[in-house]
């Protein structure tokens, strides 16, 4: 007997989405371990816990649609189709990495995939995505721009100015607030005077919607509506995704600012991968063994990417002065 698929995605698409979210999770879990071992240099901000938001939004996008990411960008990259091996090499500072080792975790970019870069400057993506959307408007192919930013970065002037600019120029932009409750160690509520991002969007004349960012289908549906609107010339909107952060602000953060038991609760009750897996198996269209098989394949991919990254050569002195204009 054929089981009815209750979801707006095909079985194959659902498997792909699950694989993508699992890939982000295992990529980050692995970085957490390897950073702890001292294998990885620099500042590393992990996206684990937030996968459903990246996957739910990016499912609607093509390479011609642009995203501006954040310092916590690995999940955006993977969901936008950036090569995982290239990313791992980049994070290890190796030649052949997404940016040839020059950018690192905070600056992974792949313009061919419409990924305009992770960013070390909070709020920098707002104006940039307005530019991407302006270019899209000129091309007139229905492409959109998505600007990701955290609850903390939502208070940057650049973001607020960009919401106004996008409104004034009627740009196909979605402002996505990734609200994980914290900016570094400071709670969202301390740093943001208004409770609702929907209210804030209204102040700029933009429609806004809040969703449970740990529920893939909730994000997928809400994102689908605002992206469709933007593609059809309806202009910008704001989408707030409420989510949880699995690890510290960056690797090495002891997280004493969290309430006792908070992390246990997050991992037990707000695990977006488990939520998706349960939804799929409960509907009876995908079996646990299929999911387990994907989990295993993802582990192989991540292991492969780490091996490749470790084996890859470092850049050399000649690479130091390429990709920049030097006239003396």
């Amino acid at each position: 007997m054929q089981v009815q698929n209750p979801f707006p995605l095909s079985r194959d698409e659902l498997l792909t989405v699950y694989r993508q979210m699992r890939t982000i999770r295992e990529f980050e879990e692995r970085l957490h371990i390897d950073f702890g071992r001292g294998d990885i240099p620099g500042f590393v901000h992990l996206y684990a816990g937030e996968e459903a938001t990246a996957a739910g939004i990016m499912h609607h996008l093509n390479d011609g649609d642009r995203i501006a990411s954040t310092h916590r960008g690995h999940g955006h990259c993977i969901a936008k189709g950036v090569d995982v091996v290239g990313m791992m090499k980049e994070i290890y500072g190796k030649k052949g990495g997404s940016c040839n080792g020059k950018g690192g975790s905070m600056h992974i970019a792949d313009l061919s995939r419409g990924m305009m870069g992770a960013n070390g400057i909070l709020g920098a993506g707002g104006p940039l995505i307005c530019g991407a959307a302006l270019a899209a408007k000129y091309r007139n192919k229905g492409e959109v721009g998505i600007c990701f930013f955290g609850d903390g970065a939502s208070n940057q002037g650049t973001i607020l100015e960009s919401m106004n600019l996008a409104g004034v120029w009627n740009l196909p932009v979605i402002f996505v607030v990734e609200n994980n409750g914290y900016a570094e160690s400071t709670s969202r509520d301390y740093g943001t005077a208004v409770d609702s991002y929907v209210d804030r969007a209204a102040g700029f004349g933009l429609p806004g919607v809040t969703v449970d960012g740990t529920d893939f289908f909730a994000v997928h549906e809400a994102a689908g509506a605002v992206i469709k609107r933007a593609r059809e010339g309806g202009g910008p909107s704001l989408l707030e995704c409420k989510m949880v952060r699995y690890f510290g602000h960056f690797e090495g953060d002891a997280q004493t600012y969290r309430a006792p038991g908070e992390l246990d609760d997050i991992r037990a009750n707000h695990n977006c991968l488990k939520i998706l897996g349960d939804q799929l198996t409960a509907a009876g269209i995908i079996s646990q063994s299929e999911l387990t098989k994907i989990d295993e394949e993802v582990m192989v991919l991540i292991e492969h990417s780490v091996k490749e990254a470790k084996a890859a050569p470092f850049p050399t002195l000649a690479d130091l002065t390429t990709d920049v204009y030097i006239n003396y």
Partner: protein
Amino acid sequence: MARKISMKQAVNEALDQAMAADPTVICMGEDIVGGAGGNGEMDAWGGVLGVTKGLYAKHPKQMMDTPLSESAYIGAAIGAAACGMRPVAELMFIDFMGVCFDQIFNQAAKFKYMFGGKAETPVVIRCMVGAGFRAAAQHSQMLTPLFAHIPGLKVVCPSNAYDTKGLLIQSIRDNDPVIFCEHKNLYAHECEVPEASYTIPFGEANIVREGKHCTIVTYGLMVHRSLDAAAVLAKEGVEVEIVDLRTLSPLDMDTVLESVTKTGRLVCVDEASPRCNIATDISAQVCMHAFGALKAQIEMVTPPHTPVPFSPVLEDMYIPSAAQIATAVRKTIKGSK
């Protein structure tokens, strides 16, 4: 006074003593306390590298966390300074200056002059500078020359814990806006520091090593690279004199000129990009005022004219090394008239 503390502790102690001595001294910045508004520990961070940890417990009314809105809170610090407070605003990394630059160079820097001397702006903006943290292009810059370029701003970049404490307290007492640059790779560096409060006047360079063959003029982390180079050169019989500028604005040209007049040779070492930086400025001034004393052409040691790369191997090649500095000194000796 045998007590040794790190540069990180020196910053903490200076702020502690300044706040205790003067209730108009207030500190503000992102996560300089940490844990605000949450259900866990307060003072959870004390700044991103823990520099201000513990100050909240001692001065709860003078330690304020801010939203992630540099333009607003750095500007507010400047406005408060013009209205009787002595704010010390922390801008985590100097790289974030772009976000709030107008408030600094069009507002703070110009009030006094533009208003015909009627305003004082005793604000200090503390920020981390420099490469070597594997923090990539937007968290590693040495942007000191940008600020030294602007009339009305004072710019400090200490190389050790002793100077840090004295210069930070001086910065807080000074009535002009001060950009106080802390090299993140020097935070752990320790030296003897008096417990009592003290100040070091601006515009007084420090001769950290005396020598007669060649002068190195530098500041910040590069003081240490220059000392390493000097140790190698000493074994070759070359005695280097190292001038640590300490404050880039005001600039102590007298000490520089005196030293160059004595040695006849000059190597300028700067961690900032090579065009229009502190090294080029010093070179130009030495050419103008002590050209006749020079026995060899001036050498400069800087990074290449590139953004700071992420990859550790590239970053290590980017940052001027003791070997490069020693080579430059040898060139001035060989190339002498």
